[in-house]
């Protein structure tokens, strides 16, 4: 993927670029808002990572300018400001996702991935399939290898999200945000328990495990390992 990083902190930018390049992404870097906007408008990027605090042009203003130019490149905002109001301001300015510093790199990777996927338009699917696991959104039925699986509503929503992000790394925070729609920090890893419940229902008595734990990052639902 082609990624543009707009970050004035050179050390942070270097680490970011290094990490992204190791995952085989092409990364450009702009050290301030003005250059960032210039690059964004003159080249095609799959996703942009923009720090909120930038010299010459603030991050949110950059995004607003981008949208005014009808540029719909997905943007992940990085910020030390983590209150709900700050998040809302970022999204209202035209950002697509918001990550609070300090962040876990795998979290950033997972979200960037999700942003690019989300952005690719596809037909609206009412049936999701991963390996031999099938989920029907209309009838709310789940089947694996022909056998029906009984899921509670929340387990269904959880599986739906994982299947929609097939192959991607999904972090606990992403799950909390998208399946339960909360942005706080749970003290205990409640998500893990939900995952192990789900695993027990969809993986335990079947051949290949589909729901994988990605150490230090989160989870991933995929057919092959």
């Amino acid at each position: 993927m082609r990624i543009l990083v707009v970050e004035d902190d050179l050390e942070a930018a270097t680490y970011l670029q290094k990490g992204l390049k190791e995952k085989n992404h092409l990364v450009d870097h702009a050290p301030d808002g003005e250059l960032g906007l210039q690059y964004a408008l003159s080249s095609l990027y799959d996703v942009m990572i923009v720090d909120r605090r930038l010299p010459k042009l603030e991050g949110l203003e950059l995004i607003q300018a981008l949208r005014e130019h009808e540029n719909q490149t997905p943007v992940l905002i990085l910020s030390a400001l983590g209150e709900v109001d700050d998040r809302v301001a970022g999204l209202e300015a035209g950002g697509d996702d918001y990550l609070v510093k300090p962040y876990v790199f795998s979290e950033l990777l997972a979200r960037v991935d999700a942003l690019v996927r989300r952005h690719q338009p596809g037909a609206v699917r009412t049936r999701l399939k991963v390996g031999d696991l099938e989920l029907d959104l209309l009838s709310r039925k789940v089947v694996r290898g022909g056998s029906p699986i009984d899921l509670q509503p929340r387990e269904f929503r959880l599986l739906e999200y994982l299947m929609k992000h097939e192959g991607q790394v999904v972090t606990r925070t992403m799950l909390l945000e998208n399946v339960w729609e909360y942005h706080f920090d749970p003290q205990t890893n409640v998500i893990d328990v939900h995952i192990s419940r789900l695993r027990a229902k969809i993986d335990k008595n079947f051949g290949t495990p589909l729901l994988h734990t990605v150490r230090g990052a989160g989870y991933s639902l995929r057919a092959a390992d």
Binding site: G82, E83, V84, D85, P102, V104, R154, L176, W180, E181, Y182, H183, F184, D185, P186, Q187, T188, V190, V193, H194, R197
Partner: protein, 473 residues
């Protein structure tokens, strides 16, 4: 900061403006009335003079000059307040008591006033009269005038009255303006002085109330409440600083030591890797602690109070309950959430979610297996039609069958970073309850700790959050 200059003050100008305005109006009205009166009297005099002239002319018609001369002579002698003059075409005086034709009696003027002198026992007296004139056949001229000294005296009297009133008004006005302004300014300067003193040193002082001044007392009261808030903010800031210093230095130190020791001697790759991972975990913990401190600070400083919205507490509790239910089951605890209908509160959804999560998390953490945790949401009582606003809002209650908190330690439990004696081995930083307290403050809700099963062993903890009633829109 300076003392407010009397003459440049708003009050002075305001009062002076009113007094001047009113004064101009009142005295203007008075003067107008008097002028109208004077004009009327003058008009009356003119008419009287005209009437007499007409009378004389009528008499002249019948008796011709001889009769007129005799009449004029008689009247001149008898009526001391009348002035007559009859002159021949060549200017000779024929009859009357005036010696000279007044120059104000120009041919064009219908009525005119002039001065004349009379000789009295006390000497020459200057008098004024209003007169009229006419030409008689043969070129004779006749003047008739009436003394208007009484009138003039009345006019001067009125002028004196106006003058006195104006003088009195101006004098009183200045006095009143100065008095009122000085008094008000005195109070305002007092408030300013106290505020300045407060800013310079003692935050403990407050602006005193003044016995009889309603508006200024309102102002003083508001300033005092602001000072209360500032004091609380300063206190919260100080506590934050203390806590940051205390709670972050220790783990930082530990992290440093770990890395330091590792660097002392050569290790193999797995050895270094292990230390790096430990350090990373330590940094994450630090981050979490820092976030919690920050959130508590935010909540305590009241900064989070903007953008509050009415929302349903019951739905938040339902969502969080759903999130924690599997955890409860895994721990072998009975977990029940009781909601009977929507419970509206005014607040911020994410903050409330965090508070509810912390309470449930704590309950699950401290209750041993086999116990139970119950969460109850009580909606505010339904009001009968037409009754006043509710005095009671929604409430949230979390009950467990854990060890509870002894009443002596309940206050401490809400302070940051406190972990009570019997829970030293439970995981997690001791910030949960203090964050709930801070969030309660932001929502103006009351947090109450008590026993969930008094008398039983263990007594269990009951945490209650009582929200204020939502204001109707």
């Amino acid at each position: 900061m300076q003392q407010i200059n009397l003459f440049r003050s708003q009050t002075f100008r305001f009062i002076a403006f009113i007094l001047v305005g009113f004064g101009v109006f009142a005295i203007g009205a008075l003067s107008t009335v008097i002028k109208v009166n004077n004009d009327f009297i003058t008009e009356q005099s003119e008419q009287n003079v005209q009437t007499e002239l007409d009378g004389l002319l009528a008499f002249f018609e019948e008796t011709d000059y001889p009769g007129l001369v005799e009449l004029i002579t008689d009247r001149s002698r008898e009526l001391t307040d009348r002035v007559y003059l009859l002159t021949a075409p060549n200017g000779d005086l024929i009859a009357g008591n005036l010696t000279l034709w007044p120059r104000q009696a120009a041919p064009g003027a219908p009525y005119f006033s002039f001065f004349y002198e009379t000789l009295t026992a006390d000497g020459f007296l200057r008098e004024e009269a209003i007169g009229t004139q006419t030409e008689l056949p043969g070129g004779y001229r006749l003047l008739v005038a009436h003394n208007i000294m009484d009138q003039r005296r009345l006019e001067r009297h009125f002028q004196g009255v106006i003058g006195a009133v104006t003088g009195l008004y101006v004098g009183l006005g200045i006095l009143l303006t100065l008095m009122l302004t000085t008094r008000l300014l005195g109070r305002i300067n007092e408030i300013n002085r106290v505020c300045l003193e407060i800013m310079q040193g003692g935050m403990g002082e407050r602006v005193p109330a003044v016995p009889d001044n309603h508006e200024l007392n309102e102002l003083s009261g508001t300033i005092n409440r602001m000072l209360d808030r500032i004091q609380r903010l300063m206190e919260a800031q100080r506590r934050t600083n203390d806590n940051i210093a205390h709670e972050l230095r220790t783990p930082l130190n530990r992290l440093r030591q770990g890395i330091d020791v590792t660097l002392q001697s050569d290790r193999d790759a797995p050895g270094y890797r292990a230390q790096l991972e430990t350090t990373l975990t330590g940094i994450d913990d630090l981050s979490a602690t820092f976030n919690a401190i920050f959130q508590i600070s935010q909540a305590q400083s009241g900064l989070g109070r903007e953008n509050m919205m009415p929302l349903d507490l019951a739905s938040v509790v339902a969502g969080i309950g759903d999130l924690y239910e599997p955890l409860a089951e895994e721990r072998g605890l009975t977990f029940r959430v009781s909601i009977d209908r929507p419970a509206m509160v005014e607040g911020k959804r994410e903050m409330l979610a965090q508070a509810v999560a912390n309470l449930i998390d704590n309950a699950l953490k401290y209750t041993p297996a086999g116990g139970s945790v119950e969460v109850v949401v009580q909606a505010p009582p339904r009001l009968a039609q037409g009754s006043e606003e509710a005095a009671v809002g929604a409430s949230l209650i979390v009950r467990d069958t854990g060890p509870g908190i002894p009443s002596a330690e309940r206050d401490r439990a809400l302070e940051r970073f406190v972990r009570l004696e019997n829970s030293a081995h439970a995981p997690g930083a001791g910030l949960g309850l203090s964050l709930v307290e801070a969030i309660a403050q932001v929502h103006q809700a009351r947090l109450a700790l008590s026993e969930s099963h008094p008398g039983a062993r263990p007594p269990g903890l009951r945490v209650a959050l009582y929200f204020p009633p939502i204001k109707s829109f």
